[in-house]
Symmetry: C2
Subunit: 582 residues, 2 copies
């Protein structure tokens, strides 16, 4: 029997000997490897935090004492110690437990969390509520693994320091973000590590925290000693622990970036298949070409270069023409505005879910200044993602900001034409929704001057029904056209709108002549999205309009097919809806 | 002839003697007082920065050297020294010059800026572009007066520290934000002031900046000395200057908060009229009542308590049940989620323009957790504001986030009923758009349980035309109804939707029976807003729908009447549009 098998709640941890705790850490690592190898997930961060989590549960009394996990991608060990180990050891039940903090799973989780840098702010609120009510317990935030660079974290630290009561912030310093750390703060962490916490420059002390350093952050005994010291303290305290990301699985220690998050099967050394062309490779080739021509191109990411396959080889080739700002999306946008206004050619790459951090920067720093930056939005669209990582909201988020041009290519050729146009122009802030589909080749050489804003492309002229199919759903639009022909013998019109930010008044007006129904297809939330702009245009006419896209809701790991059925995003369901109003 | 009269460009500053520069500072102060007393504006911040601005222009070479002003509400002296003094001394031309940085006004301004905490990020981009192109000059950001607490500033500092080249950040430490400073960082600034810059704890050094301190930040000579030292430096540098906010106008020195920004006529000691009841006073009374009952209410603001008239008297009465987090809107939202999840009753007050900072926090920290916080959005609606301070975007911003309930009261009674309901419930994250109108009394005692989401209120049942008039525009809706009666003898239906976040399917369905036109009125941007949801509902029917609101555009100090005409937001224009489709 493993030690982990005996653990059903944090109470069971408190009865263990030190030796048993060390064995438990190994059991936990095996369980992490089992889960991630089977269904994928965060590997390096969780392997590194096993001892600290055990020590936390040994010293503190969860759920009375409240643990708040930043990003919560380091929460696997905590889940195993709080009644959810079946999500890691029982291969038939892995999917029952999510990879993130979720109060619906356990009273030991206090928030749904998935984006970075929120824990200190949330914990400050929890602690302040405790004080207002006159209660008495510990509030502990665990932050690190790159999250310290986000502005929300800093705002949280700044205000947590004002609490005249207990808050304990454990800074898990594993020398990494997702990619290597970047920024002045991380220099200070290094200085503190190199001096065993004694460096004169100490950003935490500077803003008012009591400070403890634990060099051996994977040593349960030493962690327990320090946690005991800070338990029940009556003032804001930082415990800086130095851990080894990936500990216990050597490849994850050696290549921390690759094994931060991984897909299933990595233990079996699945051979990487020969890479077909992807929109990632197309983007990288475009950027390298500009760099090689000596142009002032600059690729900018915010801590997730892996999403775009901006691997070390690519980064080395780009050299000073590449900046990873760390987890600091707001800065990335404003930085791009500064770059663009001073004659450089910034191309930002951001995930749809994380661009949510930057509404005000998109509006004030970029759009209001018409700064000619190019921002690439990746992974936009409906998916089976965790509810914290949905990518369905970027069209409502971005497309209603004045001045921004949001383009939605449907093929390789169109994507490249849009990139090239955006890169070379100086009048507009341009966003491009990189297709989430496989690469489709489809010549659109005509009309690649996008400076005539909001000119849609009439792909095939028909009658009765017009299909305006944006981006990822252009293929679905074609299918609907074919289905209309098959089922109803209707030769529908097919339109690629290209622009998500406006309406082609002339084209829509023309459609009134020989169409009675217009449908819109967009791979994202309908509320506030693209289709509603079309519907509003036709509000004063007899044109009937149906909008297809996702509902306004947070979905949590719902299979894509189920969502497509729910939202009527199949050719059969769409044609059926059209029949209903013809 | 004053010294200021002789200054037509920064070149003229460079020829002045120290004594002339000191006289110039006085001339500048008089001009500031003249402008602000005539048309209103930022007083304290600009009075305090006169000497520093003169010294900057004396030492550096604008526009080759690039000054980037944070918030840019401290830019008046810079404007006077760069060819725009007529906007301060010539009473007939004050309106020609805006109160914020604007490249269209002068080559000495590099960005449109109005929100806080952006300057360091923008400057980092400008400097990096300079380096990529192999150019050589100084990039100087002037930040302070509270802006340091914003997360974007911190992200900027963190990454500016990585520049291996020139960037100079002048931290204007006037011991104030708009209201008094809050947060750990400001404790460190105080420590540095108290030690003449020598304190061991130094947050700027900790993250990698070279650091200079100027205690006499209103002493031109000392400023010039230090600026000369750091000019052309090849690494990131902070110059921390200690200035006196309001210098030269004693009331603004004594009461820094009141005179941060002021309306015209303050020099004449305009007597404050007896305050009528306002939505501000209603809100304060509500909060104080909860506090006096011993409830765990907590009012939260982000550095702009004056907007809500949360004056020192109110703050003192609220005591520990009030937190001003400083300029840190993201933290404010996450903090509220922590408070709400732990049983306190947070009521946040935010300006529409500044809630833009928090999309991701609204979505992830609040909505995804259904945290029962109440967020009050002030000043929402179309106005003659500067383009940086528009309040027309909050409905598209907030209303498309799943789970959020965004309420739009039309009267005092309804506002109080909504506040009370939101405060007492535990299921939803609730936003309330505080009316921007005068207080209207209008009994809505029936149906004040808003937990039945998206139930609209049928105010007057009519036929043919239905008017769905939200929030501030409910009064306009009434006017339209009367005008329809007068002009067309139509008894229109009048609906108060109450909810901005959803559609009352039953009521809209019922309208189909005896209405052929529905119009929506909302005080904000149409794209992605409330009305489009109604239009989408009717897309598959023969109902005609007209949406009235503002266009997707940044407007800059355009008179309200002009905007109302542009957007057809008068009863005459609306009825004319209705006639066009009846």
């Amino acid at each position: 029997m493993t030690v982990l098998e005996k653990i059903n709640s944090p109470q069971d941890v408190k009865t263990l000997s030190l030796q048993e705790m060390n064995t438990l850490a190994q059991d936990i690592r095996e369980a992490i490897l089992n889960r991630v190898n089977t269904i994928g997930g965060h590997l390096g961060p969780d392997l590194g935090i096993a001892e600290a989590t055990i020590a936390m549960h040994y010293v503190f009394d969860s759920p009375k004492d409240k643990f708040i996990f930043d990003v919560s991608h380091q929460i696997y060990p905590h889940k195993m110690l709080t009644g959810r180990k079946h999500g890691f050891v029982d291969s038939s039940r892995l999917q029952e437990i999510s990879g993130y903090s979720n109060p619906k799973e356990s009273e030991h989780d206090h928030f749904v969390i998935g984006h970075t840098s929120t824990s200190v702010s949330l914990a400050t609120g929890v602690a302040k509520a405790r004080d207002l009510k006159g209660d008495n317990y510990n509030v502990i935030a665990l932050i690190g693994d790159g999250s310290l660079s986000g502005g929300e974290a800093y705002e949280g630290f700044n205000n947590a320091a004002e609490l005249d009561s207990n808050i304990i912030i454990i800074v898990n310093d594993n020398e990494m973000s997702i990619a290597p750390n970047y920024g002045g703060l991380y220099k200070n962490l290094a200085e503190l590590r190199n001096t065993n916490g004694q460096a004169q420059n100490n950003v935490f002390k500077a803003i008012g925290f009591d400070y403890y350093y634990v060099e051996e952050g994977n040593n349960t005994e030493k962690l327990i000693d320090v946690f005991k010291k800070v338990k029940d303290t009556n003032h804001p305290t930082v415990v800086h622990i130095h851990t080894l990301k990936g500990k216990g699985y050597e490849p994850a220690v050696v290549d921390k970036e690759t094994y931060h998050w991984t897909t299933p099967g990595f233990l079996n050394n699945k051979e990487a298949s020969v890479q077909a062309e992807t929109y990632n490779s197309i983007t990288k080739d475009f950027l390298l070409d500009k760099k090689q021509k000596g142009e002032p191109v600059i690729a900018v990411t915010a801590a997730t270069p892996g999403v775009f396959e901006f691997n070390p080889e690519f980064r080395n080739k780009m050299g000073k023409n590449y900046t990873d700002v760390g987890i600091a999306e707001e800065h990335a946008i404003a930085y791009a505005s500064g770059l663009a206004q001073n004659g450089a050619k910034p191309v930002l790459a951001l995930m749809s879910s994380f661009v949510q951090r930057t509404y005000d920067q998109m509006s004030q720093d970029l759009a209001l200044n018409n700064s000619p930056a190019t921002v690439l939005i990746y992974w936009g669209g409906i998916s089976n993602a965790d509810m914290t990582h949905l990518c369905t909201f970027d069209i409502p988020l971005i497309s209603n900001i004045p001045n921004i041009v949001y383009l939605s290519p449907v093929s390789k050729e169109e994507y490249l034409a849009m990139l090239e146009w955006s890169y070379n122009q100086n009048e507009h802030t341009v966003f491009i929704r990189v297709p989430s589909t496989d690469v489709v080749s489809y010549e659109t050489a005509d009309n690649t001057d996008y400076s005539q804003l909001n000119k849609y492309k009439l792909v095939e002229k028909g009658e009765k029904v017009a299909i305006i199919a944006a981006g990822n759903f252009f293929g679905l639009g074609r299918q609907v056209k074919e289905e209309l022909k098959t089922q109803l013998n209707i030769d529908a019109t097919l339109i690629n709108p290209r622009f998500l930010t406006g309406v082609d008044f002339d084209m829509l007006e023309t459609l009134k002549k020989d169409h009675s129904v217009v449908i819109t297809l967009e791979d994202g939330e309908l509320d506030g999205g693209f289709g509603e702009k079309i519907t509003r245009f036709y509000g004063n006419s007899s044109m009937k309009v149906l909008n297809f896209g996702s509902k306004k809701e947070f979905t949590d790991r719902v299979p894509l097919e189920e969502l497509y059925n729910r939202y009527h995003l199949t050719k059969e369901l769409i044609v059926s809806d059209i029949k209903g109003i013809l």
